[in-house]
Symmetry: C2
Subunit: 237 residues, 2 copies
């Protein structure tokens, strides 16, 4: 549906591992990449700061940041002053909806990506959503992504003209180890990615929050060494 | 679903006529009002500047502004440097999707409102969407609003716990004259509202853009005088 033969995809990228591998999947599928990241009031901007470098490494055509300050509405440990849980065993992480859940975050991110996709006449939006590690996030589930595609069809000029904008979540059912192996296979710039919910002032990962623990476990299961820098090697297992 | 007996509604308010009447409908339905406006890169912020006063006049419990700079993605006369059409007859206005269409705007606004509704445990979102005057906007149609309700059900913690967040668009099928009459009946602060796409530096409405013309026609059909201030009385017909 692009005016020429170029296939375009808007890729939501946080600077983290999953979204970077999702972007590499879009590149492997032959799309010209338009990388979108959202400054939503994350407590730490280390992750987001990596995006331009990741976009360059992936050969993206363009990279933009949208501000959408979700701190205003509160409700999450990632944007408010709730504390990020540390050292929780995997069993406990999986239970219920975590305090790091940001209300309606993926709805907001996809809505912003949809706006840009319409302007670009892109027919794909890539998102690094994953159901396995974070089953507690309602907006990472397949039924949510399907409902969003339906919304995009009826709620955009593009859609009512008969051109679908599809949501691609290639990592949806992969384990963290599978995502890491896939990233390596696709030559995704994993060394530039950052996952920690609570890095120190120099940007080093804590190694103890849920996100660090899942990442480290994934690298370990994939039989690889995580290239990220952690506060102390003692907490990197 | 609120923890007490108070019924809460998030009300999207632009400072314009329609959203102010929609907010008055929420008040009349017994809701405690949480007024949300979005600074999305409108070329003129006169309209938005009225929101706190409108919220106070309506007795709202809280009023917040979220920044979501849609200029970054471009694509609309309202956020980019395209020129706003003037002096078009009503027949021409109704044809096709206008240049003032902002890609995915209502999807983005509703997504932000959904985030706040979840935090507040509000069970309604009010929006001043209207199909008649602007039939060209895909995201003002009933099927869009239904698709968003479905998305809210599957994409939020609230929704998967079985509590629906409903989208109310009480003005959806009203003419501008009907909206104005309804606003007067509900004692909505119409004197504080602003509709112009292209006001002068002092905030006076141009009287010639599609939005001004529809508003003036509406007041005229309702047999009322528009309390807004226009650049010259010569253009207020």
């Amino acid at each position: 549906m692009a005016p020429d033969t170029v296939k375009r995809a808007v890729v939501l990228c946080s600077g983290g591992l999953d979204s970077t591998v999702a972007a590499a999947e879009a590149r492997a599928a032959g799309y010209e990449l338009y990388v979108l990241s959202v400054r939503y009031g994350q407590r730490h901007l280390v992750e987001l700061a990596k995006v331009p470098e990741i976009a360059r490494a992936l050969g993206a055509k363009d990279s933009k940041v949208i501000d959408a300050n979700l701190r205003v509405i509160g409700g999450s440990a990632l944007t408010a002053d709730l504390s990020v849980p540390k050292d929780r065993p995997a069993g406990e992480m999986a239970r219920g909806i975590p305090v790091t859940y940001v209300p309606a975050r993926n709805t907001i991110f996809l809505a912003l990506a949809l706006g840009w996709a319409e302007v670009l006449q892109a027919d794909r939006i890539y998102i690094g959503a994953n159901v396995l590690d974070y089953s507690g996030y309602p907006d990472c589930r397949p039924e949510f992504l399907k409902a969003f595609e339906k919304l995009a069809m009826v709620g955009t000029k593009t859609g009512i003209e008969g051109h679908a904008i599809r949501i691609e979540a290639p990592l949806l059912k992969m384990t963290k180890a599978e995502i890491i192996r896939r990233g390596v296979a696709l030559q995704a710039p994993l060394h530039l990615t950052h996952s920690c919910y609570d890095p120190d002032e120099t940007g080093r990962a804590c190694g103890r929050c849920d996100s660090c623990r899942l990442r480290l476990k994934g690298f370990s299961e994939a039989g690889l060494t995580d290239p990220a820098v952690y506060v102390s090697s003692g907490s990197t297992h």
